[in-house]
């Protein structure tokens, strides 16, 4: 198996700080985004991201290349840390207090409508079962290849597709009015 991070990991294992810095630059955004999609909280996502990298430093000397991609292992660690935190919360994630919008100063009606829709989609995603949310975060938002996503979630490809299909269907059902509008827009766009 060709692991794009293989060389970096072996250099980190012998204490090369530059290699570790490269690994951070290469993966920090995706790990942080994945944790944020799962937890709906940017600060908690930062804690998870930090823990993932601390585990990377510890794991590097023991890493056996050829069995899995290191990035897949990082995704699995991140998702498991998110599952732990969600379990500890024992409550549904608060979508209202979740991720900040890219532009908080929306005034025009189109922009207001877009913000409302975004908030509803975010809330609906937050209500999905954890594993469906993780599958959608990996495959739709982060565009992780299917096999890697399945490995990160520790499921078969069939199970991954089932999680994705159920998640997408649930989202469509929860937001049927928005979906109808979008269906109209899709139709108009043809």
């Amino acid at each position: 198996m060709n692991d794009p991070d293989g060389d970096l990991i072996s250099r980190i294992a012998v204490g090369e700080a530059g290699a570790a810095e490269q690994l951070v630059r290469r993966h920090v955004k995706r790990i942080h985004a994945l944790a944020q999609r799962m937890l709906n909280d940017a600060h908690e996502a930062e804690d998870v991201t930090q823990e993932v990298f601390l585990r990377c430093w510890r794991a590097a000397p023991r890493w056996r290349p050829g069995q899995a991609k290191f990035e897949t292992w990082m995704h699995r660690v991140a998702i498991n840390l998110c599952y732990d935190r969600l379990r500890r919360r024992r409550e549904k994630p608060d979508a209202e207090a979740g991720m900040s919008m890219a532009d908080p100063s929306l005034g025009a009606s189109d922009a207001w409508l877009a913000a409302q829709r975004a908030a509803r989609v975010q809330a609906a995603l937050a209500r999905l079962p954890e594993r469906q949310r993780a599958a959608i975060a990996l495959c739709h938002f982060e565009e992780v290849p299917q096999r890697d996503a399945a490995a990160a979630l520790d499921v078969s490809l069939d199970a991954l597709e089932s999680l994705l299909a159920r998640g997408r269907r649930a989202l469509r059902d929860a937001l049927s009015d928005v979906a109808e509008d979008l269906l109209g827009e899709v139709g108009d766009g043809r």
């Binding site: 951070v24 959608i136 597709e161 269907r169 937001l175 899709v186």
Partner: protein, 132 residues
Amino acid sequence: MADEMGKGRFEALIAAYGADPKRWPAEEREAALAFAQSAEIDLSEAHAIDALLDLAPAPMPPSELLQARLMRSLPKREVRLAPAVAALAACAVFGLIVGYGAGLNAPMGADVDQVLATAFDSSDQGWIGEDS
């Protein structure tokens, strides 16, 4: 899964991955695209769910503070130097012990003259007492 692309498989594909071919499994993409062009398949529902998902707000980028914290947590080179540092420290401790032990055994005060006197042989006595 990549063996055959029939209607059932194609529908399962878009139900899971949506209407955008870039998200379809690479090994099935070509067959799925060919199937989509040859068959009457309505992709509008899958497009609408893709569009719903794309309405979700983009995650905040990681803060500068986080990146600084990660840099501070980088493995230190000192870890590899640990054996050398330990050896140096051991040498220093050994030196201290030897020095301290020698100090304990060293003659004190009035004995110094006696030691010095015995440090020379009889020929030096004459030289030392030359003035007398």
